[in-house]
Symmetry: C2
């Protein structure tokens, strides 16, 4: 397996150790929980997490203006409830904690269990579940993908504004209901624990509607010019979006060069414009990845002044523009 | 060829159009020159450029605190002198222009020609040539690679401090003489113009000492644990570095996931520590890439207070931490 690793069983620990080497503002506690060194003394705090392999999500967003902690499971594996509880206890200052969870059975179960455990210790814990991936038809089964990073930023902004836990939860839930994402892949991710690719794909094939855990998409197709791929994805997205004013994220899946993301962005802009949809703010880069997979996702969010302000607000995260 | 493109002959134009979609602070002039919308009115200005395919270098560094313009050639192809001259004329405010050029024959020749043309129009133009890649023995042949981005940042800081063109050139030249880089690759880049990979490499092989244009390295080896690869690279680097206090950049080659760069960073830190070398500042991420190549480079620079201040100084570039 060609990976830059010493021991695949230490992938997560080595990654977190490396993060800590290059960042003065975080520390790793409890083996796999990344917290801000500068603990927030007042107001609600934000915890996210899940399996690793999606870097910079989520640990790279532990920063002023975004998350207070990220709980890092092994690659593509949910973190255990005890780790999540440790994260909650590390950041809580008495004003409550919001858990931001991607909609995967294991994550939801473990974060709920941690929430129950925290409540038994009289910590006020609320939870939101992100399910922005429209590749899956049934809404309850929809996965949390790139839109989760926008949720981190929006919630982080609201927390900075001094909003209460209840208000943040309510606003964030409303935001979550409006964001829609769909992705595609040129290649499958090489998973270090198994040394195997997440799925087989031929030299002239792409997958539409992939997830971020090496799952196959909903349809396998022949490679096509990028404007046609973009049109196919946007055709699905606009079925679920109300309004004409948008915020758009073009997210790389880990192995996609920035030049190709910029090319995608050009055609997303043209496509939305041809549908008389207006983009008020763009976010382009690698925000929610799947190891070294090549591909991208498009996220559409209904524009609001507050959301745009939130997304443009400063953060010390190196990974959110 | 599996690339996110519409027409490979429009790769550069589509990429620049996409950059302009998502950025409010740049504009593309003369087809392939990226300039700041907010032109600097006083003091020396900075122009870099070269072949494309190294994104975010160089256009992503056109920002407050870094470059005033970037001249973008086609993928892995030097820009022509007339485009470089257009960049110089677009940014010059009478206080002179510094050209920051990577040491490739075509780049050096074309930038020198543009410099001569600008001088005939009475524009004061100085030039520095970056040659940080120690994979090549003979110093005159050494290529400019990831260290070039540190040069952008340092020069940008000096320009912000109001230093004269002469002072900036002199300080930057001294800095260039001290920075050393070496890289490795797990995979070759897929070059859009040809639809071919830059070189052949087997499933269990790596290349040590690669360049950033799809050139083969100086030795092909079997894949090894990352700490052994890191040791091999650092053993070469320390032969060329004086002093015990360093600034270190771990640069991804385009297709490397951030998690692996963090793992590399852990082992670079351990290795340097075992050699009693002290790292005062780390820069980890994708700064100077080669399309979708997987791999990394390590850059060592002698530490100085001014350099550390310069690297930490604010910039509006989305791509420099």
């Amino acid at each position: 397996m060609k990976k830059l690793v010493k021991d695949k069983t230490n992938y997560l620990q080595d990654m977190l150790a490396g993060m800590q080497v290059s960042s003065d503002s975080i520390e790793v506690i409890s083996d796999s929980v990344v917290v801000k060194k500068d603990k927030k003394q007042q107001g609600p705090t934000l915890v996210s997490g899940g399996g690793s392999g999606h870097e910079p999500a989520h640990a790279g967003y532990v920063a002023q203006g975004m998350l207070d902690a990220a709980v890092c499971g092994e690659i593509f594996t949910s973190p255990t409830p005890d780790k999540i509880l440790n994260a909650i206890k590390a950041v809580d200052n008495g004003d409550g904690v919001l858990l931001i969870v991607k909609n995967y059975a294991g994550d939801v179960m473990n974060f709920e269990m941690a929430q129950d455990m925290a409540k038994m210790e009289d910590i006020n814990v609320a939870m939101v579940v992100v399910k922005d991936d429209i590749a899956v038809d049934e809404e309850a089964q929809r996965r949390g993908v790139a839109g989760t990073v926008l949720v981190h930023k929006y919630a982080g902004y609201l927390a900075e504004q001094g909003e209460s836990l209840d208000n943040i939860q309510q606003k964030v839930q409303q935001f979550i209901d409006g964001i829609k994402t769909i992705g595609m892949a040129l290649t499958a991710p090489l998973v270090p624990s198994t040394g195997k690719y997440g799925f087989d794909i031929d030299e002239d094939e792409i997958e539409i509607g992939i997830g971020i855990h090496g799952e196959r998409g909903i349809s396998k197709e022949k490679i096509a010019p990028v404007d046609e791929i973009v049109d196919k994805l946007i055709t699905e997205l606009v079925k679920e979006i109300a309004g004409k004013e948008l915020i758009v994220m073009v997210n790389g899946m880990g192995g996609t060069p920035l030049s190709e993301l910029d090319i995608v962005t050009k055609y997303v802009a043209e496509n939305l414009s041809s549908r008389n949809l207006n983009v008020n703010h763009w976010i382009v880069g690698e925000y929610m990845t799947s190891l070294d997979m090549q591909g991208f996702s498009i996220t559409l969010a209904p524009h609001s002044e507050e959301l745009e302000t939130a997304l443009k607000a400063p953060t010390t995260s190196l990974y959110f523009e």
